[in-house]
Symmetry: none
Subunit: 414 residues, 2 copies
């Protein structure tokens, strides 16, 4: 099956918004055995949308479109589709009722723009959009399929996962394809590849192993396709287990779970509460832990101590320690752990202090020098990280490593 | 002048790499009065590249291509171009000499792949690539121009800025185009559209207003094109000022600045230090403030108080307040502000407590109920937010609103 994507929006062409939707859709379709053959981005012009659609339909079995469905004047995808298919626009009462309900709950009135948004092409099957006001639209046309979705990523993602993929499997049944994803953290791609060198040679023909590295994590994805679903699952399960047994230290989970979710489960099972004492990460680690639903069952609290004054005042770091060793030092992060354990209602603490950049480095402690410590009543472990020059990447990388070291600490000591 | 972009690479279509090149080129061309009309991404296949090129040349005056020029499998773009134009491939000695020199300096030998890389289509004008080994290529074809560049962003950027733009201005002296982007926060897209309804009707012919909404923010972009650059700038500046004057409360800046950056500048100018006292946002607001380089000049620290115990212990919230009004209440966030002002070396505090979801709601306080307060020695302002059901979106939305209310508070009181 050939899929073409069309992303609509002047903001993409002038580079004000980076189109992440097409990459996301490419990854999702890939997992379901379909392949995006082409992505076309056009502006908010009727003729351009029509041209792109016409060309796509001449080559593809399925055309997925994003963007141009909002309530404002530059949102014209819907009209272009209706014109292309020769359909009328009719007012859709259920959509309007839904929008009214949403706005009533928010205590806000609906406007004329919202009414306008509820006109839909007659032949479209509306796809429920739980995350926003504009539904997706599914068109059957000449044995092919066109789907139009909002450009807001989480709305598009909801519609793709819950509405498009299930229908797509009915329309275009193919040979089963399967995946197993093993999640690792704390080791780089080339080191992981070295450890799996022999393993890769044992894979059955047609089974592929992909490395997907991202700031402190490497996801390992096994992909296999064969006629029998049973055989497919058995072969993938066996190889996934084998792979995990080769990486017992760094493999923390499977699928699309997040490290902070796995850590949360380990904490909850042991009845432990965690806290963070953050300098250079500025609350980012706490944010990742608390972004997981139910985090209140194991997250106690956090102190972000950016200045030395705050490190002394809120975390009891000794002035002499800061003077002798500096804020970015093993001694300081160890004292931050002890201070945080005393100051907060928590059992385990992650402490971190480093030079996130882009400025603030010295020859001795260049940008990217990051100290972290994990501790509880049973001990403290400190780690030194040497990251890069990019502030945000350093924060994210340090956050992932801190979560991973904490996971290992708890498994070892609790 | 119409420009089409073609980005080549399987990695883009399967979503392993996000194509940031096309957005970068779109921004650059805009600054120079040219407009990207379409972006097409295709895989590393000869036929696909030829098809995309042929279509682009039927519509555009200039086609810019990125990707497929490296020393490995990706000779495919160059070969496709030579085939399309009916050109021979000839060995280019200067390019090979340059590659040998680079590798000698690195102390590494050159390989057969490098020699292979030096075969170029006869009709191509080579464009010097200071940042890498593969030069860009410029083709004049039937009154149109095709340029092929490497996909590595900094190599492409060098060639665009130093080789393509200067030539482009000679080839296509054209009508200038301009943009002004006004940033707003705190009000939804449809509400902003209502406020600008009359304004939109006053726009001169050909000037367009686009709405770019994203979780609590709406960017407003004015676009205009006319023969005289002076007239263009004057008309855009006038309308941008008029637009800002219609939205004095919610317009916080221009261009591509971030709200937390604007807030940081306001704080630094006034010599104020900010801190946060966060419950439901769990450190996210502190993270956003500290993600900006130089934040240590105005960020003091943060307390994340998830549990009631932590709210009492670290922020001095009274047990009676929590009992009578609950953790998610105006009274609690007001006490969090006062407690945080006392506990941290800061002048201004954002406090926030809410039900981020997906669980934990009650009929009285459903998921998405969020209280926030901003305060200093000069007073405290509280706000009630009614957000949606998605935990992460609620955190991000509340974070943006908190930053925006803080900006307004400081402008009003400091």
């Amino acid at each position: 099956m050939k899929v073409h994507l069309i992303t609509v929006g002047d903001e993409i062409l002038i580079g004000q918004v980076v189109d992440t939707n097409s990459g996301w859709i490419g990854r999702l379709l890939n997992l379901h055995g379909a392949r995006v053959e082409r992505v076309v981005s056009v502006g908010d012009q009727h003729e351009q949308i029509i041209n792109a659609l016409s060309e796509a339909l001449s080559r593809a079995d399925m055309v997925l479109m994003t963007g141009g469905l909002g309530p404002t004047k530059d949102d014209i995808t819907k009209k272009a589709l209706a014109d292309y298919f020769g359909m009328e626009m009719v007012f859709n009462e259920p959509t309007y009722e839904r929008i009214k309900r949403i706005f009533e709950q928010l205590g806000r009135p609906t406007s004329e723009a919202h009414r306008h948004q509820c006109y839909m092409p007659t032949g479209a099957t509306l796809l429920h959009n739980k995350m926003g006001t504009a539904p997706g639209m599914w068109f059957d046309y000449d044995g092919k399929v066109v789907v139009s979705m909002p450009g807001v990523p989480y709305e598009m993602e909801y519609i793709m996962e819950h509405q498009v993929i299930p229908r797509l499997k009915e329309y275009f049944p193919g040979k089963p394809i399967g995946h197993r994803t093993i999640l690792t953290a704390g080791e780089g791609e080339s080191r992981v590849a070295e450890r799996l060198d022999a393993f890769e040679n044992t894979l059955p023909e047609g089974m592929k192993l992909a490395y997907l590295p991202n700031l402190g994590q490497v996801r390992l994805r096994l992909t296999y396709s064969t006629d029998s679903q049973t055989q497919l699952d058995a072969a993938l399960d066996e190889k996934a287990r084998e792979l995990e047994s080769l990486l017992p230290d760094i493999a923390f989970g499977r699928g699309d779970r997040q490290l902070e979710e796995v850590l949360g489960q380990i904490l909850e099972e042991r009845g432990l509460f965690i806290g963070t004492a953050e300098s250079c990460t500025g609350g980012y680690i706490a944010h990742r832990i608390t972004a997981i639903p139910g985090a209140s069952a194991y997250f106690g609290g956090s102190v972000v101590a950016y200045s030395n004054e705050m490190k002394m005042k809120a975390l009891g770091v000794q002035p002499e320690t800061l003077q002798q060793h500096g804020a970015v030092s093993e001694a300081t992060v160890r004292e931050m752990v002890q201070g945080a354990l005393a100051a907060m209602p928590v059992d385990v603490v992650i402490a971190i202090s480093g030079i996130a950049g882009p400025d603030g480095g010295t020859p001795e402690k260049p940008v990217g020098t990051i100290w972290m410590a994990v501790g509880s009543s049973r001990g403290v472990q400190a780690h030194l990280l040497r990251a890069g020059k990019d502030r945000l990447k350093n924060i994210q990388y340090a956050g992932t490593l801190a979560l991973e070291f904490t996971r290992r600490f708890i498994l070892e000591f609790h």
